[in-house]
């Protein structure tokens, strides 16, 4: 229930003051090309209602609301923003799309606009305008925005966050490495030495939606394997997959005990307790370590890096992506588009990025110059969260099925079956193929 009236806008004074501070002190010059903005005559009497996922950090919400209030000031369009729990937003998006009622626009997660493409209006004009103005869309942003195989934008990527390698400098240096090697053989060597030094690495192989899929995706993509091919046909049972699984068979014995039952939070706990010295995670782990005096020394000793690229030409990781969409049932499509465009202009978007401390990274190239990325050298790597060519469901189209394969841990369980010795790589790949065939049958 957050209708932004003039009075609530005044009450947002604190947020606004923070905003002013950001604007005055921290803001780096974001380059913007002079491009004519699309003509979006706002419907008379327009008002908007939108949903978005809840914040990571409080300033995210404050600045987002303040930006929305500025839109109201500039255009007179009331905007009501509801913040929805992460587990609920997919279902609420589905209900909105199916009933043709409810919010005008939703910032949901990556695949939502592709699943509900029929229910959305195209937003090609503002997407192309923003792309031209801010140095172009980063690769995965473009993938999440455009309808498969077309140049029509149905989603407007709003931010993304990836999970790089998180490693303890002292441990890696102790076993004779300056930093983690960027090739598979070297990385395996590092892990073996860490294990021998009793400072083992650990990557989630349990039913962990974020971390488990993140690790399995890296393993497959860096070996040139993928769940589906470009057309969306299942391609998991391939020599590349077998190679990846054989590599895992050597890598897994170096892990700290128990990774087969790890959930999303387990590696954070083990890392914070000095039980696990190299893992992969989003930026939240670093911030939680840094924020607690008891673990601040660990944060001091923590570095972020890419996982080995292997055969990949860019960071083999699929960012968790915020993706905005405007529904056909909205009575004020122009106002909705104008709002999204307004929110991604540098006057609004850069303060929002800064307020998020690096939890969310930009999909538009010019925001790479944002002050947030120089605020702490250890988070600079997250700047490239969306600057890669991988997404959930790579190499195929983004669809309901790719989301389901992710949610049902098809590749994670394939890896876990091999790591635990329950299945040979060949058996595990066949089983994954069987499950994927079912999921991708339509």
């Amino acid at each position: 229930m957050h209708i932004i009236h003039r009075r609530t806008a005044l009450q947002l004074g604190i947020g606004a003051a923070a905003l002013a501070a950001f604007r005055a002190s921290a803001q780096a010059p974001i380059a913007a090309a002079d491009t004519p903005a699309p003509r979006l005559p706002i419907e008379s009497g327009a008002s908007l209602r939108m949903l978005r996922p809840v914040r990571f950090v409080q300033p995210d919400e404050d600045v987002f609301r303040a930006n929305a209030a500025r839109f109201t000031q500039a255009t007179g369009v009331q905007v009501r923003v509801d913040f929805v729990g992460w587990e609920d937003i997919t279902q609420q998006t589905a209900v909105t799309a199916n009933t043709g009622a409810g919010p005008d626009l939703i910032i949901g997660f990556g695949d939502a606009p592709h699943i509900f493409a029929e229910k959305l209006i195209e937003i090609t004009d503002i997407a192309e305008y923003l792309g031209k103005r801010y140095g172009g869309w980063l690769a995965v942003g473009e993938k999440y925005g455009k309808r498969h195989g077309t140049n029509n934008w149905i989603g407007l990527p709003f931010g993304g966050t990836a999970g790089p390698l998180v490693w303890r400098k002292s441990a890696v240096n102790q076993v004779g490495f300056e930093k983690p090697p960027q090739d598979h053989a070297g990385f395996l060597d590092l892990c073996k030495k860490l294990k021998a030094a009793n400072k083992p690495p650990g990557f989630a192989l349990g039913n962990a939606v974020g971390d488990g899929n993140g690790f399995a995706n890296w393993l497959l993509w860096s070996h040139g394997a993928s769940l589906t091919d470009e057309e969306g046909k299942v391609s998991i049972n391939s020599p590349q997959t077998i190679a990846a699984l054989n590599y895992l068979k050597e890598l897994y014995p170096t892990f700290v005990q128990g990774t087969l039952s790890w959930g999303d939070i387990s590696n954070n706990r083990a890392y914070a307790a000095n039980e696990c010295w190299v893992t992969s995670n989003g930026v939240s782990l670093y911030f939680s370590l840094k924020g607690d005096p008891a673990t601040a020394p660990i944060a001091e000793d923590t570095e972020h890096d890419l996982l080995p690229l292997g055969q990949a030409s860019s960071w083999p990781s699929a960012p968790l992506t915020l993706n905005a969409m405007v529904f056909k049932h909205s009575r004020y499509p122009n106002a909705a588009k104008a709002f999204l465009q307004f929110m991604m202009e540098r006057e609004q978007y850069d303060p929002w990025l800064i307020a998020n401390l690096g939890y969310w990274a930009h999909p538009l190239a010019a925001y790479g110059a944002s002050a947030v990325w120089s605020s702490d050298p250890k988070i600079a790597i997250f700047k490239d969260s969306m600057n890669n060519k991988f997404w959930n469901g790579y190499k195929g189209p983004i669809s309901e099925a790719s989301g389901q394969a992710n949610a049902e841990y098809v590749t994670v369980q394939m890896c876990a079956a091999v790591a635990s010795g329950q299945a040979t790589p060949e058996q595990a790949a066949r089983e994954a193929e069987r499950r994927a065939r079912r999921i991708f049958r339509r």
Binding site: T90, G206, V256, Q257, S261
Partner: protein, 318 residues
């Protein structure tokens, strides 16, 4: 004179109005009294159950209306090793956990049935595991079984020095399965114990006195007095317990989410996994519907089997 009085008297005794007459008409009264209950049952039980069964025959997903696909979902399940695995573990989990719960629960009930100081307080404490919300006890067990931070590993390693590594409770199939069963037994004992205790207290002391006069041993008193007298309530409690255990969700979902590699999926967790995070409402509903035959069988078995008078009183077939 008398005529006027009679007229006045008959005027005061008017015919009851139509509403009163309506309510005095028995068929209407029956319908009116049943309607709220029937309405509630229809809206909150029959409709969801019917919808669930209907969904099982469609390919509905979250975000898309399905079409009728007949038995396709069930045909796929029959060739899906994950479903067979869930069937196996559901039956195994229910069987072992029920035996454990009833063995320990009956024992506990017999102990509590004795006279001892602080009897009421002790009985109240016994109920605790059952009173704690399942999710909270599940999270407690999740920590107890944590590969890094398990209290059991800590005690054995650091305090007693018996082990030199942590126990990996949930990292491989069988240890994970047994760990979940242990958690379920812990949680289920109070329900069984308190219900059976209630049953024990209805057994007339005169039966024990008679048995004592006949020179019976303690075991004989249990075998020939306590146990047969307890069977009717045992049948009811076991029916409930089997239903609760077979349809268990929270413990498994909170502790393992069906892992490692799907070895601890129960039918309920698999149905949720496919239906909600996976988005395949039709397939999830089919898995849920596939639980019904098992439940009906288990219920009939424990109800008709254990409630048979032949077993209780040694009579002929009834």
């Amino acid at each position: 004179m008398s005529a006027t009085t009679a007229a006045a008297w008959s005027r005061t005794r008017q015919q009851p109005n139509w509403l009163v007459r309506l309510f005095e008409w028995k068929p209407f009264l029956v319908v009116a009294c049943l309607l709220p209950a029937v309405g509630l049952l229809t809206v909150f039980l029959t409709y969801p159950l019917g919808l669930g069964i209907w969904l099982a025959f469609t390919d509905t997903t979250i975000g898309r209306r399905g079409i009728w696909v007949g038995l396709e979902n069930f045909e796929y399940l029959l060739e899906d090793p994950l479903w067979w695995n869930a069937v196996f573990y559901s039956v195994f989990y229910t069987g072992v956990a029920t035996i454990g719960k009833f063995g320990l629960g009956l024992w506990l009930a017999l102990l509590l049935n004795n006279h001892m100081p602080f009897k009421s307080l002790l009985r109240a404490i016994i109920l605790l595991p059952w009173i704690v919300p399942t999710v909270l006890s599940a999270i407690a067990f999740w920590w107890i079984y944590d590969p890094q931070f398990s209290i059991i590993s800590f005690l054995l390693n650091d305090m007693l020095g018996v082990l030199d590594h942590n126990i990996d409770f949930l990292g491989s199939a069988w240890p994970a399965r047994w760990s979940l069963i242990a958690a379920n037994i812990w949680r289920g004992i109070p329900f069984v114990a308190i219900s059976l205790l209630a049953g024990l207290q209805t057994i007339s002391p005169s039966l024990y006195e008679a048995a004592l006069l006949d020179g019976s041993s303690a075991w004989q008193r249990f075998r020939y007095v306590t146990f047969p007298m307890l069977l009717p309530i045992l049948a009811i409690v076991m029916t409930f317990s089997i239903i609760f255990t077979f349809t268990d969700f929270q413990l498994v979902y909170a502790i393992t989410r069906g892992g490692p590699v799907n070895s601890t999926h129960l039918l309920a967790t698999l149905a949720f996994q496919r239906g909600i995070p996976g988005g395949q409402l039709g397939e999830g509903a089919a898995i849920a519907v596939s639980m019904i035959p098992f439940l009906v069988f288990a219920t009939l078995f424990s109800y008709f089997g254990l409630a048979r008078r032949k077993w209780q009183q040694g009579e002929g077939n009834d």
